[in-house]
Amino acid sequence: MNSTIEIKKKKKLWERIDYYSLYFFLVPGLLLIFIFNYIPMGGIVIAFKDFNIFAGRTPLESIIKSEWVGLSNFTKLFNNMNFLRAFRNTLIISTYKIVFLFPVPIILAIMITDIKAKWYRKSIQTILYLPHFLSWVVVTALFIQILGPYGVVNNWLKRMEVIEKSIQFFGNNNLFRSLVVVSAGWKETGWNAIIYIAAITGINPQLYEAAKMDGANKIQQIIYITIPSISSTIIMLFILRIGAILDAGFDQIYNMYSYVVYEKGDILSTLVYREGIGGQDYGFGTAVGLFNSIVALVLVLGGNGLCRKFFKKGLW
């Protein structure tokens, strides 16, 4: 009698130890985000200081020894032409990307799911997803290659006698934003279609059968079945996309721009890098970064709130 109780007790104890071991699973992940995400969040105090990197022997000491200056970094911000220009450019480039690139993956997904030949569907998907896996360094190189002064496009235009001198696609303020939108479309459109393809594949095939019986052609099926069926996916992704409007694409711009096109191409994140780290104006850089993070946070939370309200489903 006693021994079975002993065994049961032991089992209980073992089960509890086993349960608490689950918390140890979390330790590496928590440690990592603490060090590399939460500690830097503390670093935003730099935005409220007149930070001098040489005030101490280590960055931390420099932060502690630097003077508090309140909000003066932020008031400086709104009188800074470079900041205002970068803010405007960020919004404009993002808006262009949304207007011109948001609808394309939807159309692409409708077309891909219309394909019946399996081999063709697979191959075209493989090709269209591929650019997503290349870095902006590589994609920029591809575009420089094609659009450069000796590139294919300039050669053709010259041969057709449309132009005499090569067009500087990368060094022209009138063309830079178009270049950004087109190259972003080239890289991500296929990938962005995946979620719509999944949504369309999930539509009940009986709906299409019934429509066919009633004599609906493909265009009618798309308008009356496909699009209404994926409208909640579309609206949700649209809201989330708006929430990310301050992310105009650092990697892309950083690789593609040069001082010639700062006027139309410099965005907040590239400005932070150039002035903050390149120019060692850490206080200014942190202030711009913090402004960016806070506005982005508000937008994302707002977007997610809307999604939850309308679709009972958010980003997380």
Binding site: F25, P28, I33, V137, A141, L142, F143, Q145, Y273, T286
Partner: protein, 288 residues
């Protein structure tokens, strides 16, 4: 019954448009490849489109002999391998307990990870942190900060949650510990999702160039993409990097094209094999 003629026209148009898109993706690669295989005269006279003109392999000879390229390759392989293995380890270890409803404080921990996804200190504090930790010019600076991505962790966690609880219960009755269940049941049943996430991490490490710009100063530790990035803005290759006979016959364009193409080959080779997993894994993981 069905207006099959208009439907046929529709299908043909779809094939034409999709094929055009596909060709628009492939052509730039062909142009890059052709440029990398053509000599200076052909490239600077604009003779090269999608087929090599005045064929030569000297750009690839240059790449093979280029110490910078190989150093970059070595660093990138190292960072990608170590980074992906460690990322998968941390990501799955984190996702497992967070997928179990019985875990007390689960919401709290989840929120800790989600906050990180929504808000960050910005570039400068991160940059100063690496300096503070003494990780400048250390390859760990290329690995550690990006080791766990909340997005990927949630993808894995969501998939873990779809596994039937009855499996866990019967394992429990057999006396299996949480760790054994994690290793012997959860992980093997989640392979498509794990392959997808591993691909995301690997591609992320392979493609990362910016941390190399920020943190690495010595050429022998510079990742490949950072080296390639430096080629983008270069209008000429410094003379001391070239042997005289190479300098005469090669254009900067060819060298850049050959370097870029060589660095992209691993992705072109591995990606089609993994593709079948990631569509499945992505859809399953996000289906919640």
């Amino acid at each position: 019954m069905i207006d099959s003629r208009s439907d046929k026209v529709f299908s043909v148009i779809v094939y034409i448009i999709l094929s055009t898109f596909g060709i628009l993706i492939i052509l730039p690669f062909l142009n890059l490849l052709a440029t990398s295989l053509s000599d200076q005269v052909a490239v600077s006279n604009g003779m090269v489109t999608f087929w090599p003109k005045r064929f030569t392999l000297s750009a690839y000879k240059f790449v093979i002999q280029n110490k910078q390229f190989w150093n970059g390759f070595k660093t990138t392989i190292l960072v990608t391998f170590a980074g992906t293995v460690l990322s998968m380890l941390v990501t799955t270890l984190t996702a497992y307990p967070l997928s179990l409803p019985k875990l007390k404080g689960r919401k709290f921990f989840l929120v800790l990870f989600i906050i990180v996804m929504l808000f960050n200190g910005g570039l400068i504090p991160n940059y100063l942190l690496i300096n503070q930790l003494g990780l400048r010019n250390n390859r760990w600076a290329l690995i550690l900060p990006g080791l766990i991505s909340t997005y990927n962790m949630l993808l894995v966690k969501n998939y873990f949650e779809t596994l039937p609880p009855s499996l866990y219960e019967s394992a429990k009755i057999d006396g299996a510990s949480e760790f054994r269940i994690f290793i012997n049941i959860t992980l093997p049943l989640s392979l498509p999702t794990l392959a997808t996430v591993a691909l995301f991490y690997a591609v992320g490490f392979w493609n990362s160039y910016f941390s190399g710009i920020l943190y690495i100063s010595s050429p022998e530790k510079m990742p490949l993409q950072t080296y390639l990035q430096s080629l983008l803005n270069m209008s000429y290759i410094p003379a001391h990097e070239l042997s005289p006979e190479v300098a005469e016959s090669l254009s900067t364009e060819s060298i850049r094209a050959a370097s870029i193409f060589s660095a992209t080959v691993p992705i072109l080779v591995f990606y089609p094999f993994l593709q079948k997993y990631f569509v499945k894994g992505l859809v399953l993981g996000s289906d919640k």
